[in-house]
Amino acid sequence: MIKKMVIALSLLTVLFPIMAYAEDPTGATLDMGLNSLWVMVAFVLVLLMQGGFILLEAGSTRMKNAGHVAGKTIFTAALATLMYWAVGYGIAFGGGSSLNAVIGWGDFLFNPSITAVEGDSYPSTVFFLFQLAFACVSLSIAWGGFAERAKLSSYIVFTIFFVGIIYPVVAHWIWGGGWLAEDGAQDFAGSTVVHLSGALAAFAATVLLKPRIGKFNKDGSANEIQGHNQVFTALSVLLLWVGWFGFNAGSTVAIGDGFFGYVAFNTMLGAGAGGVAALLISWAVTGKADITHMLNGTLAGLVAITASCAFVEPWAAVVIGLFAGVLVFFSVKFFEKIRVDDPIYALSVHGMAGIWGTLANGIFATQLLADKVGVGQGGLIDTGSVKQLWVQFESVVVAGAFVLAASFLVLGVMKAIMGFRVTEEQEIVGLDLSEHGAYGYPEQLKKPDASFKA
């Protein structure tokens, strides 16, 4: 037995000499490998958040649109991949142009080196994948404003412009060395870049599309259009919550000294506080402990802590989450009151909480953590200075105004040229049938009469 093993090992050593003669890897290589692995894991987690968006959007809308909602999320992620590879990445992170403060230029049809370049802490491939997954999240947030009434073709057009230009420009300003980065704007994992951008695109869409049939009565009062599966919606929040650890903790893009753990820790606290606050406030105000509000609050806590997770102390993470939970509740009521139909609550969850999270840095960031991350400075409470708060405010207003204007332009032109909304008949029949020819739940829904077919 032992003899056989010795022979086998000797043979293997002859066949694979490297095993016998390999040098120990250097510390830098190990470090690079670990970082790469971490960013890769984070990419997978963030990509999986698309599963969360499928369940969130499908669960919050009606059965007749479920197949469409789910399928289009996968399709637009596929299209976004191509667009980001061809154009978007080059605008967000392509360096070296004379206009670098405003826009990146280079690395179009991105052709990365096959391994990490000497001195890099990870290969550009994993960075690309990670950034792509962020762009896809922002895009899926925008779909909240399209839900249940936009033509499939409008999804294609908007994906091209949003992932090709609009999102990458904001990402460049804040993360790609653009002018807001120069000013020291703190947005660790994208309360503004990802969430607010997506939410404002959703806002532009929902304003141009107008409310769904039956959402508002003639006298201005709102009707509740209930989602078809609250279990899906709850599961979606869990999936997103888990994915968020890739989103936030992964944004350290390094294993380093284990700081990613601190980021994850704050993320967890923010989410918990958001969920608790939203349930309690809905209970207190409406007399009912509303599940939808609680789920929105959990997500709002996550959105809000996204900008600040690396810059604040744990108590502040809790305060940020609590406030986000309350804010999202009143925000939902507010949008309903001004008769803006927000089927997935994207405007409140990602927009309002995104704004709050970004501003919260200006209040709660500590000098110590700002130095550690190397972006901006401490906020109002720690330093007594309003400088960071002003920078945060500036980044929200400028990035927000840009996304809003660009989205209105793209969607407005599209509406004028090719139309944006399906016909009333199609909307009533459901997009599953009108856009794809088959229901997501064929056994639960009957095909309508011929008279109703569009």
Binding site: N217, S221, A222, N223, E224, A284, V285, T286, G287
Partner: protein, 358 residues
């Protein structure tokens, strides 16, 4: 002046020859009372309205009896009492109330023919009342349902069954029975049934506990910040569910306290006065509850009503524009009082039960 008009109407009702006539007289009387709601104190308003209802119902019954006689079934073979439950029992019917009713008759010889007679009679009464504009009870608590048309001995057996098996449905029936009131016929029979109920209910602490749970299950529609909890969505958005968010919770609470005190009155305001008089509620709390319930009673007359299958029905909801600022602030205070009453009933009942060793 008003009284004279009402007396004239009541007389006409008592002489009406057929249900259609009753219907139009009832509508006329309601129209008149509606226009006088503002000028009358609310308890008088309900009193007059329920006098009209009682008169219509009694006439519908005597018309049915006459019809039975005409068909050769003769007069009622034994004494009986026609009972009203629900708002009718509490003398709190609105302009649009449905039929909740039952019959109790004496035990006598010829049980099966007696049953036959009352079964046919109750059918005719219910039909006459339908034609006079009273929709049937959703829960089928109605005299034409054999379960609610029994001899006094059968009633007692049935009650015993309910007492021995306190599932939610039986507890609901017992609470319905507590509001029972004889509107026509032999008052003694009704009294016998009610005193049987009172005698046993207080000896069953498990029943009392279940009654408590049933009694406080409707939440009063005022939030922790003292705000009104309005309908959030739909065509009724902004309106307030006065029936189930204010009126019924108080009716329930006062009923349970009255059952515990052995007070036989069925009208909520009368029950309240008795509870105060007998010292079960102190004067200041009691008067607060009295004022609160009076406002709920008047708001209840303003709730949205519609015509459904030719019957006036109300969804019990008060539209937002029916309340001005002063009324809202008064209402908030009264809803808080209602909440306080619910808490009092809860604590009071639990301490009673723990003292009783139950």
């Amino acid at each position: 002046m008003e009284d004279r008009w009402l007396a004239k109407m009541l007389n006409l009702i008592r002489l009406a020859g057929k249900p259609a006539e009753l219907h139009s007289l009832r509508n006329e009387a309601q129209q008149y009372l509606k226009s006088h709601v503002q000028s009358l104190p609310i308890d008088q308003c309900y009193e007059q309205l329920n006098e009209v209802h009682d008169a219509v119902i009694c006439r519908a019954i005597t018309l049915a009896e006459a019809e039975m006689a005409r068909l050769g079934m003769g007069a009622p073979p034994v004494p009986y009492a026609y009972l009203l439950f629900g708002s009718g029992g509490r003398e709190e019917q609105t302009m649009s109330s449905d039929q909740d009713s039952g019959i109790v008759f004496s035990d006598g010889e010829g049980a099966s023919s007696t049953r036959q007679y009352f079964s046919l009679l109750s059918e005719r009464i219910v039909r006459n009342l339908l034609e006079s504009g009273y929709p049937p009870c959703d829960g089928n608590v109605i005299s034409s349902n054999a379960e609610w048309c029994l001899s006094i001995e059968e009633w007692k057996n049935r009650l015993e069954g309910w007492f021995n098996e306190p599932v939610w449905e039986n507890v609901r029936y017992l609470l319905i029975l507590a509001d029972g009131r004889c509107v026509h016929g032999d008052q003694m029979l009704a009294n016998e049934l009610k005193s049987y109920f009172y005698k046993y209910v207080l000896n069953h602490s498990d029943i009392e506990k279940r009654m408590l749970e049933n009694t406080i299950r409707h939440k009063i529609l005022v939030g922790v910040f003292g705000q009104l909890l309005r309908e959030p969505y739909g065509s009724e958005a902004g309106s307030l569910d006065i029936k189930y968010g204010a009126y019924i919770p108080m009716v329930n609470a006062i009923r349970l306290l009255s059952i515990q005190a052995g007070i036989p009155a069925t009208s909520t305001l009368e029950r309240l006065s008795e509870l105060i008089k007998q010292g079960y509620l102190n004067d200041s709390d009691g008067n607060q509850y009295y004022a609160a319930f009076s406002q709920f009673l008047s708001l209840r007359l303003l709730t949205t009503s519609q015509l459904e299958h030719g019957w006036h029905t109300s969804n019990g909801k008060l539209a937002a524009d029916k309340l001005d600022k002063a009324a809202i602030s008064k209402l908030k205070g009264h809803l808080k009082a209602g909440k306080k009453l619910q808490q009092y009933v809860y604590k009071h009942t639990l301490s009673r039960l723990s003292q009783g060793g139950g």
